[in-house]
């Protein structure tokens, strides 16, 4: 079995084992989960190393070596997986957050530990699935698998006040989005089948992305079709990004979820959307992308500015961070919309950076929330004196989120801005730059009001993070942020290599359109160093 499949199998297997473990032996349960996530982290790092040393070539080679395992032949479902630079980054992200999440939950979760970790691992497996599969059926499969456990995670272990509403809203909203995307996927599927049948009337349909891309490269998808399909795919996936105004599920979902839940949710789940867009929608419907993305670039502004200002009005620390997430995702959207190597790589890098950062933030918030049982900012204050370690970590997290250099977020946001301008979105770029100011405003306010100012006796009883077991997850995440912030080149090179062919496709489409309409192609952007490799494969 290839290492990619292992990424999905290990957590599922662990979950399966946990079913057999008696619920009373919680220690065993915890360690099983931690071990499983540890293994996935190992695999994630292994792939990252492969990408570093071997470059994209190594990944392509590795992917090519993995056979298509036919699943349901008559409808063309096959279990086939693959990685490129982009997914390597995401794999690393997910394995990091999963591991950190397990550690955090290790001491944070005391009730129904067994059920919790079963669901948590299932969630992790689902996310891994989305990042690796090359089959549209399993893409949707994994997507749903990642969404639904969130319901119980939030519902059972979330904060009692709003968990039922939040959990229900999140699940239904994301499912609805996924279904819209599914409509788009099915469009692609049948269009591809028609294309396959041109060659061989007896040909069976196929959910495999390579076939879809092959059809797309072969010009099987008309422009009109691409516009429709892209719109559906993008709308569907944009719900989980979350793109304004489809974001209302997200902040309350953050707020209600248990610490590790929000970590996975904000850290990884929200990245599924943008990843799926890049993985499927871009290469499959370049024309559609070229047609719609300018609008996305506009909506991204709504995300950044609106999200920022709403965050400014929040009194609940988790809501602040929640809205700041949707504001940050605006940068991702902008980067994606720019369709430049710089911008898109920046977007993916930001997905990584924001994932780690926000996981860290929610881990910390969860840590003190479990003791204070209040997220209401005016109640809190001066916590840094009771919990200096957590306070320090939170300051670092805030700085990272505010786009302070030295953390990965700065580099990625800078890339996005450069990319946006390169694509000719000067106005958006400037607004994006200004967004950083807004971010700083509400983040510093929250930071100051929660951790600084006069010490409050009512919090004197709460304890700081003690011992390696409690501190490890935070330290781990901070280190990652710092390492890739101080020297982003390794990460950006890996991502870039994966992004280039995708970008090349859409840029080609843009140029086509420009030629047809007769206006000059998007001003200053440069073609990727490597031309787009046609995603064909011997069948």
């Amino acid at each position: 079995m290839d290492a990619l499949t292992l990424l999905v199998v290990v957590p599922l297997l662990a979950a399966g084992l946990l079913v057999l473990v008696p619920a009373t032996s919680e220690k065993l349960v915890r360690w099983t989960a931690i071990t499983a996530s540890g293994i996935t982290l190992g695999i994630g790092l292994w792939f990252f190393r492969m990408a570093l040393t071997g470059g994209e070539a190594a990944l392509t080679e590795y992917t090519a070596a993995i056979p298509r395992r036919t699943w349901v032949e008559s409808v063309g479902i096959s279990w086939s997986v693959g990685v490129d630079g982009m997914s390597v980054a995401m794999l690393l992200l997910n394995s990091l957050v999963l591991f950190a999440g397990c550690l955090v939950s290790g001491h944070a979760i005391q009730d129904r530990v067994k059920e919790y970790f079963i669901l948590f691992l299932a969630l992790g497996a689902g996310v891994f699935g989305v990042f690796i599969v090359k089959d549209m059926f399993f893409l949707y499969f994994a997507f749903e698998l990642a969404v639904v456990p969130m319901y119980l995670l939030i519902g059972c272990w979330g904060s009692p006040k709003d968990r039922e509403y939040a959990a229900m809203k999140l699940t239904l909203y994301l499912t609805a989005g996924a279904l819209v995307a599914l409509f788009g996927l099915l469009l692609l599927y049948f269009e591809t089948w028609d294309w396959l049948r041109l060659a061989d009337p007896e040909a069976l349909p196929s959910f495999h992305l390579d076939d879809v891309f092959a059809a797309s490269d072969d010009g099987a998808f008309g422009v009109g079709f691409q516009k429709t399909a892209f719109a559906l795919l993008f709308l569907g996936f944009a719900t989980i990004i979350p793109m304004w105004p489809l974001h209302t599920w997200s902040p309350i979902g953050h707020a209600a979820a248990p610490a590790a839940g929000s970590m996975m949710h904000a850290g990884v789940l929200m990245k599924l959307g943008s990843f799926a867009v890049l993985r499927v929608a871009f290469p499959a419907c370049p024309e559609g992308a070229a047609y719609w993305l300018p609008w996305v670039a506009v909506i991204a502004m709504a995300n950044i500015i609106y999200g920022g200002y709403v965050a400014m009005a929040q009194k609940d620390i988790k809501f602040v961070i929640g809205f700041s997430s949707s504001s940050h995702m605006g940068y991702t959207l902008l980067g994606i919309a720019s369709v430049t190597v710089m911008g898109v790589s920046g977007a993916v890098f930001l997905m990584f950076a924001h994932g780690v950062m926000t996981a860290l933030t929610f881990g910390l918030i969860g840590f003190f929330y479990d003791q204070t049982h209040s997220r209401y900012i005016p109640d809190l204050g001066g916590l840094a004196q009771q919990m200096p370690f957590v306070g320090t970590c939170f300051v670092l997290a805030t700085m990272a989120s505010a786009g302070v250099p030295g953390f990965a977020n700065f580099a990625s946001e800078l890339m996005v801005m450069l990319g946006a301008w390169e694509a000719g979105y000067e106005v958006q770029a400037v607004i994006a730059v200004f967004g950083v100011v807004i971010t700083a405003v509400y983040l510093l306010r929250a930071l100051a009001d929660v951790f600084f100012r006069a010490r409050k006796e009512r919090w004197d009883k709460i304890k700081d993070a003690r011992g390696p077991f409690q501190r490890a997850p935070f330290v781990l995440l901070i280190l990652v942020l710092l390492v890739f912030g101080m020297y982003p080149k390794p990460m950006t090179d890996v991502i870039k290599a994966g992004v280039e062919p995708i970008v090349a496709k859409v840029q080609a489409a843009q140029d086509r359109i420009a030629r047809e309409t007769g206006e000059a192609p998007a001003s200053r952007r440069t073609a990727p160093e490597t031309p787009a490799a046609p995603a064909k494969e011997e069948r």
Partner: protein
């Protein structure tokens, strides 16, 4: 003419009679033996379908009886259904004041009726088989004859059932009038003939037949009995109804679709008709389920909704569509029976079917909680559970027909709607605190049954090809168009 083809039916009928006789000299306190006998009978039926002579398929009685892939698949499903129903019935029947023997006899008779339904090849046997099932169910539904609810349910089912039977019959009469035959073989020849023209009365006949069958499949407009009867009937019977009788209806629908659908003319008439019914059924079932507070009633509406999804595949009316339908049915058997088993045993401890009484079930009885959760999620179509794949395939099959894509949209909307009310039940089981401290006592055989169903559901969800390997060939044998028109 090889009667050996009817081996499964023989077994079932023989068992029914045997149980009836055995019941006569069994002392009152040892009636439970009958349950064991019935279960053994089901296993025997299941085994009988694998006897080469049967498994090879063929026709009997001058072609009025047909055994093909679909028939075999359905027979096996019916056997499993009956088995699981008996598993959950045992304790329930022990609580009944009287008529335990009759209970098993009638169940076995109904089963034999379903078995015949699976392989009818002419309208006479269709009608008779159908009535065997229906009439047995009239009795079973009203079985608790001191319970007002049970009797009322029986009456309602009786009246609506008879009306639908009359409609069916009248439709058959029309078809007979238009074609001069009641044998499917003749119809196949007729519609495939190049000079075939679709006369109005033939069409009306076919439509009436479908509407009549709608009673069993609980499709709009013949669904009106479903919620009341599901609530009033003895719970194991509700389970049997929701699976056995529904599947019997669907297998007949598929059979007639296969017979007449070979002609593009008829198919073009049927598709919009079925699509219309499917859409109505989807919305009726799923929206109606939202405000329910009684789990059996909820399952009633849910089974209307599920019927809508199966109709998606039927309406698509091409090979993959039928395959998807069969897949969906297979998933549905295990899913629904698991859920109802839980309902039976929860009700034994709480003496109630209020959804609120499921609060904290996941804590009180993890096994029941897990089974219920997985079952409901499978109904909602959530991976990695069998129901998800079924729903996915059905929707995909319908999607293939451009003129059905509006129906797909309805289907997708209802996925969300149905997820809402299923999650509401799950919410109570997992999030709310327990109302009834009493832990339901669950005998070992039920535990085994539940665990097996769960394994089937999850395993099938992860490796759907195992199920698909059974359904696809069965669908292929029907010889409908291999590609969506």
């Amino acid at each position: 003419m090889n009667p050996i083809l009817l081996l499964p039916e023989f077994v079932a009928v023989a068992a029914a009679l045997g149980v009836m006789l055995y019941d006569l000299w069994l002392p009152k306190d040892r009636k439970a033996v009958l349950c064991t006998v019935s279960m053994v009978a089901c296993v025997a039926v299941f085994a009988a379908t694998f006897v080469p002579a049967v498994a090879d398929g063929g026709t009997a009685f001058g072609g009025s009886y047909l055994v093909d892939g679909m028939a075999l698949l359905l027979k096996r499903l019916f056997a499993i259904t009956a088995l699981l129903v008996f598993v959950m019935s045992r304790d329930y029947v022990e609580d009944l004041p009287r008529g335990r023997g009759e209970y098993y006899t009638l169940c076995l008779l109904a089963t034999s009726g379903m078995l015949i339904c699976a392989s009818v090849n002419d309208f006479m046997s269709l009608f008779v088989a159908l009535e065997v099932v229906t009439v047995s169910f009239f009795v079973l539904v009203a079985f608790k004859r001191d319970s007002t609810k049970s009797v009322e349910a029986g009456l309602k089912m009786l009246v609506i059932g008879s009306i639908s039977a009359a409609l069916l019959l009248y439709g058959i009469a029309f078809i007979y009038g238009a074609t001069g035959s009641v044998f499917f073989a003749d119809y196949r020849a007729l519609v495939e003939a190049p000079d075939f023209v679709l006369s109005t009365e033939l069409l009306v006949g076919i439509l009436l037949v479908f509407l009549g069958l709608g009673f069993k499949t609980s499709a709009v407009p013949m669904h009106v009995w479903v919620p009341d009867v599901y609530e009033g009937a003895p719970t194991p019977i509700t389970a049997f109804l929701s699976v056995g009788s529904k599947l019997a209806g669907f297998v007949l629908m598929l059979r007639i679709l296969e017979v007449f659908g070979r002609s593009g003319v008829v198919a073009d008439e049927l598709t919009p008709f079925l699509a219309l019914i499917a859409a109505l059924t989807l919305f009726y079932g799923n929206l109606g389920a939202i405000p329910q507070t009684n789990i059996k009633r909820l399952m009633g509406y849910s089974s209307i909704g599920q019927c809508g999804y199966i109709l998606l595949g039927v309406a698509a009316a091409w090979e993959t569509g039928i395959s998807a339908t069969l897949f969906y049915m297979t998933a549905y058997v295990f899913t629904n029976l698991a859920v109802f088993t839980v309902i039976v045993y929860v009700a034994r401890s709480t003496k109630s079917h209020e959804i609120d009484d499921y609060s904290g079930l996941a804590r009180r009885h993890p096994l029941l909680g897990a089974a219920m959760t997985i079952g409901l999620l499978s109904l909602a179509g959530v991976p990695p559970i069998l129901g998800f794949v079924g729903k996915f395939l059905a929707i995909g099959a319908a999607f293939a027909r451009p003129e059905l894509q509006w129906l797909v949209v309805c289907g997708l909307i209802n996925v969300v709607v149905s997820m809402y009310y299923y999650l509401c039940v799950i919410k109570r089981m997992w999030i709310k605190d327990a109302r009834h401290p009493a832990d339901p006592a669950v005998p070992r055989r039920v535990k085994i049954a539940l665990v097996v169903s769960m394994i089937v559901l999850i395993g099938g969800g992860l490796a759907p090809q195992l199920v698909e390997k059974m359904t696809a060939p069965a669908a292929a044998q029907l010889g409908l168009s291999k590609t969506p028109r």
